[in-house]
């Protein structure tokens, strides 16, 4: 597998400065090993802290049930499901799998058009402010969304993307990314569906790293 690695920057919260990082257009064995050896222990520690603090189970991070190794194995080799990852400090900081083929737009003005659908996206547990205070790096989610927009533009979908959001991320997609909230999708585990138009994609790219 040929992997294209692009230089990017995350924000190191504790140091208060930019940190050189890499965007990979793949999820490789290295990412899966990081997920097993680094992410999972941290994630379960965070869940344990929430449990001991009396936080209701429905408020625990739902991605704790995701098995990235199984997802990658099932989708390996399929052109319709490219993956992306971010590496910083020698460790994987985020992963994303998108669907370029099966989903279509729902917003009236672009109904039926092609889009890049973000199937799974996850930030490393130590980067999630709801789990760790302060988080280690900021910018992972935004860069992965930009990668989905760039792929959409490359495929001539004009930057259109869509996704179902886990409850903890609704604000990020609505406010930071400026996506349109099409409400709860009763056919998708009751999650809210968000979609981005070409104009919203352009605005998000132009905005850069501003919150």
């Amino acid at each position: 597998m040929t992997v294209t690695v692009s230089p990017i920057y995350l924000f190191d919260v504790q140091r208060g400065e930019a940190a050189a990082a890499e965007l990979w257009d793949a999820i490789t064995e290295r990412q899966l090993a990081d997920w097993e050896a680094e992410w999972l222990p941290e994630l379960f520690s965070a869940v344990q802290r929430l449990h001991r603090a009396g936080v209701e189970r429905r408020l625990w991070p739902q991605s704790r049930q995701w098995d990235w190794r199984r997802k990658v194995k099932v989708l390996q080799g399929l052109l319709a499901y490219p993956g992306f990852s971010i590496v910083c400090g020698g460790v994987t900081q985020g992963m994303m799998i998108v669907d370029t083929t099966k989903k279509r737009c729902r917003i009236d003005t672009q109904n039926g058009q092609h889009l890049v659908y973000v199937e799974f996206v996850e930030n490393a547990p130590w980067n999630r402010p709801e789990l760790v205070d302060p988080p280690r790096y900021r910018g992972v989610g935004s860069i992965l969304i930009r990668a989905a927009i760039a792929l959409s533009q490359e495929e001539e979908f004009k930057g259109r993307i869509g996704l179902h959001s886990l409850p903890q991320a609704n604000g990020f997609y609505a406010n930071t990314c400026g996506m349109t909230d099409l409400g709860v999708d009763p056919e998708y585990e009751g999650l809210r569906y968000f979609e981005m138009t070409p104009e919203q994609a352009e605005a998000f790219i132009t905005k850069g790293n501003q919150p």
Partner: protein, 69 residues
């Protein structure tokens, strides 16, 4: 990512359908055929696993199997 170029020979009818779909989806011929290839691979892999391909009527929920020969 490097890309390779190929020549594609189509009948008039095939070219007409391709151009109609390109206009409808606002895609170039290349983008549309890449999309078709991804979908074809996905369907083929699922069929090889023993899955079936269905269309479902959104209103009636009636399912019709697509016969793949």
């Amino acid at each position: 990512m490097t890309k390779k170029t190929m020549t594609l020979n189509l009948t008039d009818a095939e070219m007409r359908v391709l151009e109609e779909l390109c206009a409808k989806k606002d895609l170039s011929k290349t983008a549309l055929l890449r999309q078709a290839l991804r979908l074809y691979q996905l369907v083929e892999v699922r069929l090889e696993k023993g899955d079936k391909l269905f269309f479902e009527d959104d209103a009636t929920k009636e399912k019709a199997e697509v016969m793949m020969l």
